[in-house]
């Protein structure tokens, strides 16, 4: 295995153009080094993009909130721009693995690894985030949901790299949260994770809601039936429970009944109710 650290994005794209199929991209390495150790990953080339300036930076711009693919979880955690414009993403970074991992792991690596449990994916999905991709063939954008074609299966061609994410800003939202259930608080791989944001009118009515669930389906996704059940209505405890029930039913419709369903059905609903309880005004 050969280690290559390009100085510019152009150099990285040149390498991927020639050797993409035989290369693994190292963004932070906190997942990839584990796979190298176990033998699950045996690339001929490791392309270390962790220092590329083109993959860095967080900014609120008229076209959206830009988050570089090489931004670490620790940088997301301490970003005032994201606290204001993507609060669910900021919250997810606080419970992501451990301090040691957050200091190295990147958002681009978390997304490209395509774990169904990737904690940054539900917060990106509620912002209808798009990934800006670069290759020698040019640039294009895809929805974040389109990057994983299944668990640990990346749909991106081997000559392409994620440069940054573009998030729709959370304009005027009054509520945002990220929650997960794991075996312990730190370092747990999520059994269930979810992100939500909402805008409530002064009278309590839900004017806007985005909700995405991770870890339960092959790839994290938004569930529009759940959003539609709540948008335009005054949230009562009963309404939130109903929406949680719809969420659990929809999830099981996707995955089929499994041995874990007895637990997950109740836990998905419970997590949803716990998360959205602050919306209840009466």
């Amino acid at each position: 295995m050969q280690y290559i650290r390009p100085q510019t994005l152009d150099e990285a794209l040149d390498h991927l153009d020639r050797q993409g199929r035989r290369t693994r991209i190292l963004a932070g390495g906190t997942d990839l080094v584990v796979d190298l150790r176990s033998g699950d990953a045996k690339p001929e080339f490791l392309l270390d993009v962790s220092r590329l300036p083109e993959l860095k930076g967080i900014a609120a711009t008229p076209e959206g909130v830009l988050v570089g693919a090489g931004v670490t979880l620790a940088e997301i955690e301490s970003s005032e721009v994201l606290q204001r414009h993507a609060p669910a993403l900021n919250r997810c970074s606080r419970t992501f693995a451990s301090r040691q991992v957050r200091n190295v792991a990147t958002i681009g690596g978390n997304v490209a690894h395509c774990s169904p449990c990737g904690d940054t994916v539900p917060p990106l999905v509620i912002h209808e985030a798009r990934a800006v991709l670069a290759s020698r063939r040019g640039r294009r954008e895809v929805e974040v949901e389109a990057i994983a074609s299944g668990p640990y299966a990346c749909a991106l061609p081997p000559d392409e790299i994620i440069v940054r994410f573009v998030l729709k800003p959370a304009a005027g939202i009054t509520f945002a949260d990220f929650q997960k259930i794991g075996r312990r608080r730190a370092l747990a791989i999520a059994r269930i994770n979810a992100a939500a944001m909402a805008r409530q009118e002064p009278d309590g009515r839900i004017a806007f809601l985005r909700f995405a669930l991770g870890s339960c389906t092959p790839t994290p996704q938004r569930l529009s039936e759940v959003e539609d059940h709540l948008i335009g209505r005054h949230p009562t405890a009963q309404l939130i429970w109903e929406a949680g029930s719809i969420l659990a039913e929809r999830t099981i419709a996707i995955t089929g009944r499994r041995p874990s369903t007895v637990y997950k059905e109740a836990a998905i609903q419970g997590l949803f109710v716990r998360m959205l309880a602050p919306l209840v005004t009466t």
Binding site: M1, Q2, G29, V33, R94, A97, Q100, V101, N103, L187
Partner: protein, 161 residues
């Protein structure tokens, strides 16, 4: 398959180093088996226990999750750089005084997590201490004395400022 060698230069515990190793070498293997600094421990080897915590450019990281090649040009601190038996670092002193050590296997990692925390934030809250130490497992102490040690080290660090 053999990995071609990589040559890197970095600063280790204040000393410039130039060294080479096969490309698939982790930072932990470089430190323990090539540079023969045995203070940094291998527990799980997959980033869950924190026994291998070192400080790279001021930030605590798991040496088992990093390739040694990633250290090129960086400033690295291991537990050997903290203090000597004759002159302990204040964080080490606090762990001794507050009985933060039992078997000692997790201790180097906890010392490095504590140093990184206090260098950045000399007066952390209890929640901030918990967040900084959550990536370091200890199977002996139940953490009570470790918290007390970190709080004692913090009290000294913030008095100094």
């Amino acid at each position: 398959m053999e990995s071609p060698f990589v040559r890197i230069q970095f600063v280790l515990n204040g000393q410039p180093k130039s060294t080479e190793f096969p490309a698939d070498t982790t930072a932990l293997r470089l430190i323990r088996d090539i540079l023969m600094l045995k203070g940094t421990k291998e527990g799980c080897g997959i980033g869950e226990c924190g026994a291998c915590t070192i400080i790279v450019d001021g930030r605590a990281v798991n040496a088992c999750l990093m390739l040694a090649a990633q250290l090129d040009g960086r400033t690295v601190e291991t537990v050997e750089g903290l203090g000597t038996p004759e002159a302990l670092h204040p964080v080490q002193e606090a762990f001794v005084r507050e009985h933060g050590v039992q078997c000692g296997f997790c201790t180097p990692g906890l010392l490095m997590s504590t140093k990184a925390l206090l260098d950045e934030n000399p007066s952390p809250t209890r929640d901030e201490i918990a967040a900084a130490a959550a990536g370091n497992l200890c199977r002996c102490t139940g953490y009570h004395h470790i918290f007390a040690s970190i709080e004692a080290a913090a009290a000294r660090a913030s008095n100094k400022d």
